[in-house]
Amino acid sequence: MCGIAGLIHRGKSSNVGSELQGMLQALKHRGEDSTGYALYGDTDGKNFIMRFKVGENVGEGSSSIMEDVSVYDERKKVVDQTLAEMGAKVIKEERTLPYSLRYEIDYDVKDLLEFSQRIESIPGVEILSMGKSLEVIKDLGNAKMVCDRYSLDKVVGTHAIGHARMATESGVDIKSAHPFWGYPFSDVSVVHNGQLTNYWNNRRVLENKGMRFMSECDSELIAVYLAEKMRDGATLEEGMKASLTGLDGVFTYFVATKDSLGMAKDTMAAKPLVLYESDDLVAMGSEEIAIRSVLPQEIDTYDPFDGEVKVWQI
């Protein structure tokens, strides 16, 4: 089933980590195999923030193969070595969990594609996000469990999207969890509720054009599809509108960039979405109770119609 939620504050920052946790926790009945956050925090914009993993969560319910922590340490060493070879300076390093790391990197990156390919050529290593504002945090469990594990409740920023997942199309693991980074574009992330039926056809076409897939989750296609459109010069909104016919199946998805948040709904309107929009805040989720967790007072909400695409700026 899955549940998605997102919000964008216009003209100010807020405690988006805590707000999104409340929204996603309200949707936990739609799936709690894994939960993911794409948070756009307040930063000075000088350094890149790279969230990456060197292994999987092999806790209860996981479909991943158990590995020793020493394997993770070894992979981390290779990542550090590769960064040094590329001239990237690690300003700050956080290892929240043995398999999950956050680096602030000072590097004049001209081509994130080449950079990402070098890092991800290390077996077992996957970049979850790369950007000057975006941080993707995803792990097994419900929203509160992931929030507590990564101390996300104090994150301040302008906007965020998130996903509560019931695994149906692929395994219970971090690589299949949402949000997906819009590789290789800085600060682009996607969450999706639905099923895409032309995943493999699209994947073959996109891989032949040099795009990369890290999982076998159909939702990853949306991030790659939009990234490819933008690589070819389309705006985010143009790419989203093209996806209404380019992607087959049922879907409601959110996409976020450094300064914007968008939603798209398929032409059959088979997946739910409730939207609240005011001058200073847009909040949306699979169900109204998600919005109610940040706006308990009586408000006007509505369901976007079939084939609708909307984009908001901060």
Partner: protein, 284 residues
């Protein structure tokens, strides 16, 4: 055009394109004969006094707890119940099978007022997916917008949304009336079998797709027609009925119904007789 005051009951109904609706009356006569009333026991119903009024704050209740408390209040004879702070909770007010004035001061989530038979409900907010699904009788008025599958499979009663509704409104409906003050999404009236839908605003693609019977009236633009949905003549009887219905529904009273479009089933896709199994049994 037919004159409602002079024509027979049968031709009056037929002129409005609602000939199958007459069967509803026959069904009621057959199975709800007052002389046999003692043979029928409607489980879970109460005699309530509309003048006996109370309020219920459900802010800190789960949906089952809130519904149980509504049931408890009805068992005490309360006929007017005001629900405070519903806050988008799912499945509130389901399964009420007797007369009741129920007022929600706020919005409901999924499946609000599902499987009801008789209550008069006013929701001063929005409703989520599948509001009033399987409604048998009564009236449900929503002051703001509604989600998808609004009035799915209803068999009777009036379901009124003063705002806009999502996709698949009236899917599989078998009777009753749905009135929308704003716009409606795709697949409105999908596979509807009886009843009427009135939309004052625009409607999305595939209107009335695969509908078996029933009538859809649209005041605005139509995205596209679904399979087997066709235009029909809007008669003066239709207009009279629309005016009355909109007035009673407190919605679009001054709306120019003469410009509405009437959509019915082309009846090329299916082959069924219009008797339900119980009716067929009675006829035999």
């Amino acid at each position: 055009m037919a004159n409602l005051k002079t024509v027979s009951k049968k031709s009056k109904a037929q002129s409005m394109g609602m000939h199958t609706e007459v069967l509803t009356g026959r069904t009621q006569q057959k199975f709800f004969n007052p002389d046999e009333a003692e043979n029928f026991y409607y489980f879970g119903t109460y005699d309530v006094d509309f003048n006996k009024r109370t309020e219920l704050d459900v802010k800190d209740m789960t949906a089952p707890e809130a519904n149980k408390e509504i049931d408890n209040l009805m068992s005490q004879g309360y006929g007017t119940i005001v629900i405070k702070n519903p806050q988008g909770k799912h499945s509130l007010g389901v399964g009420i099978l007797n007369k009741l004035n129920l007022i929600f001061e706020g919005s409901l989530g999924y499946f609000g007022m599902g499987s009801c038979d008789g209550p008069i409900v006013r929701i001063n907010g929005r409703v989520g997916w599948s509001c009033a699904e399987n409604l048998m009788a009564g009236k449900v008025v929503i002051e703001k917008n509604a989600g998808s599958c609004f009035g799915a499979a209803i068999r009777g009663g009036d379901l009124i949304c003063k705002g806009s509704v999502g996709a698949r409104t009236g899917i599989d409906m078998k009777g009753g009336t749905i009135i929308i003050g704003g716009d409606a999404g795709a697949f409105t009236g999908f596979m509807m079998q009886r009843g009427r839908i009135i939309i004052l605003g625009d409607v999305g693609i595939n209107l009335g797709d695969s509908m078996y019977d029933g009538t859809i009236f649209v005041g605005g633009e139509i995205g596209s027609y679904g399979s087997d949905a066709v235009d029909a003549e809007l008669t003066s009887s239709d207009q009279d009925w629309l005016k009355r219905k909109l007035k009673v529904a407190e919605i679009g009273e001054n709306f120019d119904v003469s410009k509405m479009k009437k959509i019915v089933a082309g009846k090329k896709l299916w082959n069924y007789d219009n008797l339900e199994p119980t009716e067929k049994k009675g006829a035999i």
